[in-house]
């Protein structure tokens, strides 16, 4: 079993055996390791065990958690790692068996992480950033018609939205020279991208003809034939 040794002013204060699966560090009395010092946040850091690994996570503390003199957000602890919190030092020591296992696993093994532990770890890390997270996730793109009123808005909820004359198009637009599919909008890993489907019908974004693919930004205007649209994204509230 691993141990954590608390050192202050070059003296060992106490040695803590690692509990079942996680260990918390902070000023609050409820922590496994209590450090009563003003530079230490009430819930400062925690160490989680996942399989053979120990992962140290800084809980968005005010003054930071350092391992081997580098500030970290999360860090896989190695035998003899030095954790610095304020003026206190914590030495991390693994047992002999654990060190042997760690060596074995050094071949850059891909490992699977238990979903619950992962969630907990990420949630802990995201406590303070919670608002940013909801900003980034769950955004949905919307296309709204400009000029031709009455058509309203169309949500780009599909992975691939086709724009054109064809009956199967998600956004149907007419016109004498309109091809079955004039453009498509894909929901890609980096965001919504519009592609002109044929060379013949020009697709303009912000009045410039696009070549191949263009990543849409909020309030970009799109012009296909005589139709004008505007793109923007908003929160859906759900995760996907």
């Amino acid at each position: 079993m691993a141990r954590v040794i608390l050192v202050f002013n070059k003296k060992v204060v106490k040695e803590y055996p690692f509990p079942e699966d996680s260990m918390t560090i902070g000023r609050n009395k409820a922590n496994d390791i209590v450090i009563d010092n003003l530079v230490v946040s009430s819930h400062h850091a925690r160490v989680d065990r996942t399989g053979n690994d120990y992962i140290l996570t800084d809980l968005q503390s005010t003054n930071g958690t350092f391992t081997n003199n580098k500030r970290i957000t999360s860090h896989k602890l190695q035998h003899k790692d030095k954790i610095t919190i304020g003026k206190h030092l914590l030495f991390f020591a693994m047992s002999k068996q654990e060190r042997a296992k760690a060596k074995e696993g050094k071949l850059n093994n891909t490992i699977m992480f238990d979903t619950d532990e992962k969630k907990e770890l990420l949630e802990k890390q995201a406590v303070k950033k919670a608002t940013d997270v909801s900003d980034q996730k769950g955004k949905i793109g919307v296309i709204s018609f400009i000029d031709r009123s009455g058509e309203g808005e169309i949500q780009l909820s599909k992975k691939l939205t086709k724009i054109g004359k064809a009956k199967t198009s998600e956004i149907r637009i007419g016109g004498l020279f309109m091809p079955p599919t004039a453009a498509t909008i894909s929901r890609k890993p980096q965001g919504y991208a519009i592609t002109a489907a044929t060379g013949k019908t020009k697709v303009k974004v912000n009045n410039e003809v696009i070549k191949e693919t263009y990543y849409l930004k909020d309030f970009d205007t799109i012009k296909i034939g005589s139709y004008k649209f505007q793109f923007y994204s908003h929160d859906t509230g759900d995760e996907k």
Partner: protein, 268 residues
Amino acid sequence: MKKMREKLKITAAGLSDVGLKRERNEDFLAMDNSVGLYIVADGLGGHLAGEVASMVAAQIIQKNVKNWINKNSPVTEIFDFPDMTLSERGNYLSSSIKLANRVIYEMSQEYTEYSGMGTTIVVLTIMPSTTITANVGDSRIYLIRGDSMEPLFKEHSMVAEQLEMGLISEEEAKISPLRHIITRSLGFSDTVDTDVFEIEHMNNDRFLLCTDGLTDMVSDNEILSIIKNGNDPEHICQQLISEANKKGGNDNITVSLVCLSKQADEKH
């Protein structure tokens, strides 16, 4: 008016290599040109379990997708509920992955020798005008178009999630000790979520499917330069693998390159 039809030609190659440090190859590669289906899987789990997981997953996906395509199955009649944000073929991919997940999960619950096994998966399918990708885990699919290479997958790893939440920077992600921890795989729980992307493909698009044995060793820029300067898909695959081995070959390496070319076809 004379109608011009475009004929789509697919040239594909794939190779899998054990690398230099591992004893066995736990990756699996499946290609089916008849339906334009390409699959790469990276198995996890000790003994023979990793090899079994990646093979079972790829074969189940290939068999079912092919069967559903040939029978033109309605999406409401295939495994699990359809996802209305996806096209029919997108649903075939996502559904077959869920089915493979269930089979691997049940095998791992039933037999002790398969306990804890799992696999990543990347699937690519080429349709007359669109390309659809699906993935679980940290194996990858890239689109190479002109001079650029862009991801068509979402990485399910600890580091990718931290990066998305803005907890770490891209530089930190590259050296993070957590970079081999994946947060989703087939066989780990009774259900799995898949990320599917659908795009309209263009003439001369190329798609690369690969496992982390390639991307951990060879940088994106080096990969792009090998593909850009190459011509024959099989030769490019060989070059990618020998580059990964030259840099250490720490893991099994699997790559598959699918090249599209559209030719005008005047016949009806």
